[in-house]
């Protein structure tokens, strides 16, 4: 068995899917240029606005990329493809791994595009700032990847768009990807338990300096475990039904 060949075709399928590219790459970019462009020289919470907004869009775009990648399983279930794969030697985990890999590939592409767009409107970061930011983002995306796979087994293709759109928008909004929504009080304590909050912080690590506090690692770990357990449940229920 040559799983790399399989993976290669999964990657080809990903970049040929225009709608998917549109949502995970084009939308965050367009939003960034539309919002940050006109406010090029302004400052927000002591940070140049384009830089601030770029990091928010990075968090949102990468989140959409990894969730959508796993959620594409819904379409493959619908046409009976997952059943077809279950009678091949491909292990289920490889199927999921390929989906996660493609999601990450898109997420990295989304970051690169926004970084380039950011530099064009005057964002400057040092190499080590880029590294910390990208590294933390990759870790912060893990629970969202798993969530995507869960969506893929929970939803139908009809409900997929609204479900992904709604979930990512809500996560992004509460996490502060579109701007600082919650800055204090009891609500902040709640919001700090969301993985999207830490994804946004990861994205802004270059601005606020340093990495994640221990709480961030714990929140991401707990969300990863919980979404994984749920995803396994949903997967088992789905395959039993067939």
């Amino acid at each position: 068995m040559n799983q790399l060949t399989y993976l290669r075709y999964e990657v080809i399928r990903t970049y040929r899917n225009r709608r998917f590219l549109m949502f995970s790459l084009a939308f965050p970019l367009i939003l960034f240029l539309a919002v940050a462009g006109p406010h090029k020289n302004q400052m927000i919470v002591g940070i140049p606005f384009p830089l601030y907004y770029m990091t928010g869009m990075v968090a949102w775009g990468t989140m959409v990329a990894v969730i959508s990648s796993g959620a594409r399983i819904a379409a493959e279930r619908q046409v009976g493809w997952t059943r077809q794969l279950r009678i091949t030697p491909l292990p289920t985990w490889s199927y999921f791994a390929a989906k996660i890999f493609c999601g990450y590939l898109m997420a990295i592409l989304s970051m690169l595009i926004l970084f380039v767009a950011g530099s064009l409107v005057g964002v400057h970061l040092t190499l080590s700032q880029w590294f910390v930011m990208v590294g933390l983002l990759l870790v912060g995306l893990i629970p969202f990847s798993v969530l995507g796979i869960m969506f893929g087994h929970l939803l139908t293709t009809d409900s997929l768009g609204p479900a992904i759109g709604g979930t990512t928008a809500l996560f992004a909004l509460l996490g502060g990807a579109y701007g600082p929504l919650v800055t204090g009080g009891a609500l902040l304590t709640v919001v700090k338990c969301l993985p999207s909050y830490w994804l946004v912080i990861a994205s802004k690590s270059a601005l606020i300096g340093g990495g994640w506090p221990p709480q961030a690692w714990i929140v991401i770990a707990v969300w990863t475990v919980v979404t994984s357990v749920l995803a396994v449940r949903v997967y088992q229920r789905d395959t039993r039904k067939i």
């Binding site: 075709y9 899917n17 046409v79 493809w81 279950r86 009678i87 030697p89």
Partner: protein, 308 residues
């Protein structure tokens, strides 16, 4: 390992024992037993809802049986799948987007330990004519050929086909069965499900007849044809002893309702000739094809526990 021990260990055949599956209140499969040798082609023949697909899905590990077991050359279905011993075409299922036909078949080929050459699989299945087209632009029959190519490219020991010719035109059907034959001739084992006695008769070494989740007949195509491929002769013939009708040539069984008699015939021409000669008073003679449905009804008439 010599032939004898291979048989004793079950590594050279497929054994289906007491397979049972219930969906809610529907007893889809109610104890199916059969064995088949490596290299043979077996048809599962039966009407809609007989339990053919459920049986096949349990054989290839897609459905877990409530009871019973399947051994494929000495392996469980899950292990056989894992080892790449099964190439299958399920009854339903479509293709994924964003790949050409050749790319899709190559993707599948990559999953098996010793796949067939992709171009070869495309050629045999007749999918070579549109190999560079994107999968979403295919017709139903073309899709079916690609699905066949995906099953073939595995070059697996066991090929399982669930009503494979459904979407195909006449020419497509003929090509399909020629391809299946060529595959089987390489010593491969084939199991296919169909509604059509003619298909089962022409392309299988053995036919297993399934109705209401049970095997109702199992044998060589000629035997099965004699059982279900016959005709029904109905006539008004008062006061005749049924025992005198039974020995008429071509008759397999007789029944009487009032003055009317019903003769189930394997060879209705011969029966009619004798009937007219021996009973000149016979009236209202009617002949019609028994049809599978009827044959199944007859074979399962004595089914006591139909309802759950």
């Amino acid at each position: 390992m010599n032939e004898h021990t291979a048989v004793a260990n079950g590594t050279n055949n497929i054994v289906v024992s007491n397979l049972t599956k219930t969906f809610g209140k529907v007893r889809a499969v109610r104890g199916i037993n059969f064995e088949m040798d490596r290299g043979t082609t077996v048809a599962l023949l039966g009407p809609n809802g007989a339990g053919k697909s459920t049986t096949i899905d349990m054989m290839i590990g897609l459905t877990t049986p409530d009871f019973g077991s399947v051994s494929l050359f000495g392996h469980s279905p899950a292990n056989a799948v894992h080892m790449g011993l099964i190439g299958a075409m399920t009854q339903t299922g479509s293709l994924i987007d964003y790949l050409s036909v050749r790319e899709l078949v190559s993707m599948m080929a990559a999953l098996y330990p010793s796949p067939l050459d992709v171009d070869e699989a495309l050629r045999i299945s007749g999918a070579d004519a549109f190999a560079d087209r994107m999968t979403r632009k295919l017709s139903g029959g073309e899709t079916q050929r690609v699905r066949f190519a995906m099953a073939l490219v595995a070059d697996a020991e066991l090929l399982v086909l669930d009503e494979p010719t459904v979407a195909l035109d006449v020419e497509g059907r003929r090509d399909f069965w020629i391809a299946m034959r060529a595959f089987a001739a390489r010593g491969k084992t084939v199991v296919f499900a169909t509604h059509y006695l003619e298909e089962a008769d022409a392309y299988a070494d053995r036919i297993i007849l399934i109705a209401h989740g049970r095997i109702v007949a199992d044998g060589a195509p000629t035997e099965i044809k004699a059982t279900v491929g016959g005709r029904i002769v109905r006539a008004t013939l008062p006061n005749v002893d049924l025992d005198k009708l039974r020995p008429l040539s071509g008759v397999t069984s007789v029944e009487r309702r009032g003055d009317a008699v019903t003769l189930n015939c394997a060879d209705s021409d011969a029966t009619l000739r004798e009937l007219f000669t021996l009973y000149p008073n016979v009236r209202d003679v009617e002949v019609r094809g028994a049809g599978l449905e009827e044959a199944f009804l007859e074979l399962t008439e004595d089914d006591d526990d139909e309802a759950v």
